[in-house]
């Protein structure tokens, strides 16, 4: 028989919802979030704390869930990428990552979003250096980080209230049957 760790009852508040599951004593938070809590937005990249794809907030602090014992997260408030948006409304940081090219393949994006949201919660006016320090634990192979920093800066402006959240470039629900101009642009009868 395969030796197994004894099970313990694990309770946490994940993205505002109380969760309770039976987990092995030796469980890692990342595995519990993905396999028990269904938070598949929390990604497993390197499984040893280098890529940062598994970053979640525990009581507001960004933590690598792959290096955190699940029991350390028990009884705490955990926020994953799924919990950043307010219902259907994207958080500024999510919207800015889209608009400024902060996400390409998107695999590292959940980790970056959580790490940068944690930064903006503490400091809505971060310098470039502070942004770099906040995301130095996240690895991105696509963007070269520059557009990620642009995204975070843009989100910070919204957090500071200096800028409205920009309306999307176009519209999610365009009418395929719009009207044309109200008045003919030529004298009546000219064309007809």
């Amino acid at each position: 028989m395969i030796p197994v760790a004894p099970s313990v009852v694990w309770k946490s508040n994940i993205n505002g919802q109380q969760k309770e599951s039976l987990i092995p004593s030796n469980a890692i938070l990342l595995d519990v979030l993905r396999d028990k809590a269904g938070c598949l937005g929390v990604k497993r990249g390197c499984d040893m704390g280098t890529c940062g794809c598994c970053t979640v907030m525990i009581d507001g602090v960004p933590r690598l869930s792959c290096l955190t014992m699940a029991q350390d997260g028990a009884g705490k408030e955990i926020i994953t990428v799924e919990g950043l948006s307010d219902g259907a409304h994207l958080a500024p940081i999510q919207q800015c990552f889209g608009e400024h090219g902060g996400s390409q393949c998107g695999f590292c994006t959940p980790g970056f979003l959580v790490a940068s949201q944690a930064l903006l919660n503490e400091n809505s006016n971060p310098s470039e250096q502070e942004i770099a320090c906040a995301i130095e634990g996240n690895l991105c192979r696509c963007t070269g980080y520059q557009q990620i920093i642009d995204s975070i800066k843009a989100a910070a402006e919204i957090h500071r209230g200096e800028k409205e959240s920009t309306p999307p470039v176009s519209d999610a629900h365009p009418d395929p049957h719009p009207t044309g101009p109200d008045e003919p642009t030529m004298p009546p009868g000219h064309a007809r």
Partner: protein, 934 residues
């Protein structure tokens, strides 16, 4: 809803009787599918409509065949990727996010030996472990597969031999990961260990037991997988050169380092069809290989591409673990999921080849480049993968952007007992490009000229042919060089910065789509096909096999369709995940998607557009040529009030036939020569790039920090500048990793020492320089709206730019990448010893006094500038082939003009005597010429 449908024809608004009641049969109804927001048409966005068709978008490179299809809707605009929201909310589903009912977990048993015969595999203990549902070994899948039809040398699991540590031997599936791991440990394999090869030079030697056996085509009994010899031009030109560079380069293997490890889910559905979920760049190859290995017809397999968490070439081969999952799932009758640990990713590898590259460059008295001699020995690891192509690319992709007097290339790829090398961003071109560009820098120094001017005075013009016969169409190389020179303040910095600070230049040249679809004849079957379908709701469903790997191919396809039909991009729904619904497509490699799929999509969209305009013609009475598409409406161009909505036109067009469908395809034009290997490197267009990098070198520790990069890339036309800039900056990051920190380290015992992301050193945010992306738009005549690739080419120039900048900073060239601080420190220490310098801060820095040649070059560059402009705008349409700079007539075959103009694909007897390292592969005979039976 104004202007809705009427129950019967009548006035525009609902009619009411005088008493206010409605008139039966004269009521307006909203057409099915209408409603929503923005009920008014927007103004035409003239800023994004080319000036040639009445807009304000400047076209310095002239008109384009697709100009009339422009509507100012999305092309050229900075728009987010269409799947950005899925990615920022965690809803994007990658390989490991596919969870099917009843899934079980697969685990692979891997070889602990570099090279061994598999004597026996005993699976009985594993099979008897409770919870184990399936066990498979090489016996379950005897058929070979491989990404290239010419080199199928892989099995799902070892048959007969294992070829590197980590090679697959068997696999198990069990109810959970713990059981699967336990079962994997219980599989007993008996090996007979063979002598392994780790040094690629040893691969050239005859051995008792070559890693693979190619029968009559096997080269001697060596481990040479592929050898290439190419010679073009007049070899006598390299005699008595004014400057010559000879460099022996060493490049370590690098890995793609994508953040998503491989993962696969296989499921045989209730009808016995295989549903295979995998993050693939090229689902079609996996599809073909699965059919071969599983002995199931392709139509009974549905390959479902999940979101791909980074590919960069590393997810483009059909993989053995995909076969394993399918085999296990078939045996167990339940869905099987396999996800990789990071070290397994390194064992699959397919990263850039470790290489020994020797280059000799020559310049004549006019500082013309009289010859490139390149010798590339590349280490293929245990399998062929894309290596056949890589063997060519290492040479042929160095034949431009410069005009050459002669070109000589010998290449060889050998098998060694390492994880297989394969295709990685900038496939085959990166390492040689670095050596060549550094060589040019060195020759510029010998000639005492500015290296940018040396390049500017030797460029091939637009619409020309390279020495090996590649057809260059648009060419923005010159503007790229000019822009980075300006942007970086080059003229005030080069050879003028203090010790430890340096600036350097590098250029790049890359294919925009491989001209040869590997599996079929391009004259019979198109490169890419796109299907479109529009039903009553007005939404446009686009089916394409373009695999979005984060580069934004889905967005590019959606954009061009939206552009042609003048619809908001939200109305375009790209379906590209399933092979069941997408047309056959070669997926995302060789930077082909934008060029080929977007072209096919434009054609499909134009077909729909025509149908819509004809319908509008019926209703409005104006000929389609006089009608304008703009923001969901079609109207008479002289009076926008005379028009109809898109939906009205659509429904008119759908009368009697229902949904509109169309299909568009892309075929490449005939290109290139007929010599052996002529297809390698052929592409319908080429991208060009030039970078200037600035570095800080700590002369005491040897640590290099790249501080700034000015990165100009000619992508033809930026369909989405935001995405193009993302590709440029991302390429810088990846190239910077290769030049400064990344390497796959094989230690004393031949084991890969750093198969994890802590020890495999991908640059962090702190190592990233400030990159200024500069987009050059040369408007390719055949590209979609003029576009070419932007995904791979931008990686090339960063390596030589950094190496050249390091020389500018400390006067030392190190030809051994990555430039880790220990190598730089060792080189500095050596130089200090030779020059008897005590303190590193007293190192001499290179300075430049121009020779007379400089003025001559500047003059020639200025003349060529005028020549190129005329050719680009087709003011000058005369023929231009490589050799004109040397005084030859482009209208007469060069062989007829020049005695000794060679065109060889095999070395002559004299040449055999003086071949370089890789060239030595030609000293052996193939088995068929040795009278061997095999």
């Amino acid at each position: 809803m104004a202007g809705g449908y009427k129950q019967q024809p009548g006035s525009r608004s609902s009619e009411t009787r005088k008493d206010g009641k409605r008139v039966a049969g004269k009521q307006s109804f909203a057409p099915p599918g209408s409603g929503g927001s923005r009920p008014k048409m927007a103004e035409r966005d003239l800023d994004f409509i080319p000036e040639m068709v009445g807009g304000k978008e400047h076209q310095p490179a002239g008109a384009h065949i697709h100009d009339r299809a422009r509507t100012g809707t999305t092309v050229g605009k900075r728009i987010p990727l269409v799947d950005a929201n899925a990615k920022v909310t965690g809803q994007a589903w990658y390989g490991d996010d596919v969870r099917l009912q009843n899934e079980i977990i697969g685990r692979i048993v891997r070889s602990p030996h570099h090279y061994a015969k598999v004597v026996s595999v005993d699976t009985s203990k594993a099979e008897n472990l409770p919870g184990v549902l399936a066990v498979a070994t090489g016996d379950d899948a005897p058929n070979k597969f491989g990404v290239l039809p010419v080199t199928k040398d892989e099995h799902a699991m070892a048959v007969e031999k294992v070829r590197h540590v980590g090679d697959l031997v068997a696999c198990v599936a069990a109810i959970d990961e713990a059981t699967a791991r336990e079962a994997a440990a219980l599989i007993e394999v008996e090996y007979e260990v063979l002598d392994s090869i780790h040094d690629m030079k040893k691969g050239l030697e005859d051995v008792d037991e070559p890693i693979h056996w190619r029968g009559k085509y096997h080269v001697g009994t060596t481990n040479v997988q592929k050898r290439v010899f190419q010679e073009f031009g007049d070899r006598s030109m390299v005699e008595n050169p004014s400057a010559m560079y000879h460099g022996k380069w060493k490049f370590q293997g690098v890995n793609h380092g994508f953040t998503e490890p491989h993962a696969v889910v296989a499921h045989w559905d209730s009808n016995g069809r295989l549903q295979l979920y995998t993050p693939q760049q090229v689902p079609h190859y996996a599809h073909r290989a699965l059919a071969t290995v599983l002995e199931v017809p392709m139509h009974q397999i549905n390959v479902i591409r999940t979101f791909v968490g980074g590919g960069f070439g590393g997810k483009s081969d059909p993989f053995p673990h995909e076969m394993c999952a399918a085999i296990l799932a078939r045996k167990a009758g339940r869905p099987v999921r396999i996800n990789f640990d990071r070290e397994e990713v390194f064992w699959v590898n397919r990263g850039r080849h470790p290489s020994h590259i020797e280059v000799q460059l020559y310049a004549d008295e006019d500082a013309r480049i009289s010859g490139f001699d390149i010798d590339a020995l590349i280490d293929g690891g245990g399998f062929a993968s894309f290596g056949h192509v890589t063997s060519y690319y290492n040479g042929v992709l160095a034949t431009a952007p410069y005009e050459l007097g002669s070109f000589h290339y010998t290449g060889a790829r050998v098998w060694t007992n390492k994880p297989a090398s394969g295709a990685m961003r900038g496939h085959g071109a990166v390492n040689t490009r670095c050596a060549v560009e550094v060589g040019l820098d060195d020759m510029a120094e010998q000639l005492q000229v500015d290296p940018i001017d040396l390049r500017l005075a030797n460029l091939l013009p637009p619409h020309s042919r390279t020495i090996s016969g590649f057809r260059i169409t648009s060419n923005g190389m010159r503007q790229a060089l000019q822009k980075v020179r300006e942007g970086s303040d080059w003229d005030n910095k080069f050879r003028k910065l203090p010790l430890g600070k340096g600036i350097g230049i590098g250029c790049g040249f890359f294919i925009s789509g491989s001209g040869l679809p590997i599996h079929w004849d391009p004259n019979k079957f198109p490169h890419a096909t796109v299907h479109m379908q529009i039903d009553m709701d007005g939404g446009v469903t686009v089916h394409t096999g373009a695999a979005d790997i984060g580069q934004g191919s889905t967005t590019a396809v959606a954009q061009v369709v939206a552009e042609v039909l003048a619809l908001p991009i939200e109305m375009i729904h790209v379906r590209s995940h399933e092979s069941d619904t997408s047309p056959v497509d070669l997926g995302s490699y060789s930077s082909r998607v934008t060029f080929m799929n977007a072209n096919a999509a434009i054609r499909a969209a134009l077909e729909i557009k025509e149908k819509l305009l004809n319908a509008a013609w019926d209703v409005l009475g104006y000929h389609p040529d006089t009608l304008v598409l703009n923001d969901r409406r079609i109207y008479y161009k002289h009076d926008p009030a005379i028009g109809m909505s898109y939906l009205e036109a659509l429904h008119k067009a759908q009368e009697d036939k229902g949904a509109l469908i169309s299909s568009g395809a892309y075929r490449s034009p005939p290109m290139g020569g007929v010599h052996k290997g002529a297809a390698a490197g052929l592409a319908p267009a080429y991208s060009f790039s030039a970078y200037v990098a600035e570095v800080d070198v700590d002369v005491e520790t040897g640590l290099i920090k790249c501080t700034d990069v000015w990165a100009a890339h000619d992508c033809g036309k930026a369909l989405n500048p935001l995405a193009v800039e993302g590709q440029i900056i991302g390429s810088c990051h990846m190239g910077l990793g290769q030049v400064l920190t990344e390497q796959m380290v094989y230690g004393r015992s031949g084991h890969l020492q750093n198969p994890n992301l802590l020890d495999y050193k991908i640059p962090s945010v702190h190592e990233m320089p400030n990159v200024t992306p500069i987009i050059i738009e040369s408007c390719d005549p055949e590209g979609p709206f003029g576009a070419k690739e932007a995904g791979e080419g931008p990686l090339l120039p960063i390596l030589p730019a950094v190496v050249n900048a390091v020389y500018d900073a400390i006067g030392i060239r190190v030809n051994d990448l990555p430039l880790t601080p220990d190598k730089i420190w060792a080189a500095i220490t050596k130089k200090m010893k030779i020059e008897r310098i005590e303190d590193a801060t007293n190192l001499p820095v290179p300075r430049l006094d121009f020779s007379e040649l400089q003025e001559k070059l500047a003059k020639r560059a200025a003349e060529h500038n005028i020549r190129d402009k005329k050719r680009q705008t087709t003011e000058d349409t005369s023929a231009y082939v490589n050799g004109v700079l040397f005084g030859f007539d482009p209208n007469i075959p060069l062989e007829e003009q020049v005695e000794g103009w060679a065109h060889a694909d095999k070395p002559s007897a004299e040449q055999l005597a003086e071949l370089g390292l890789a060239g030595k592969a030609w000293l052996k005979e193939e088995q068929r010429n040795m009278g061997g039976e095999n």
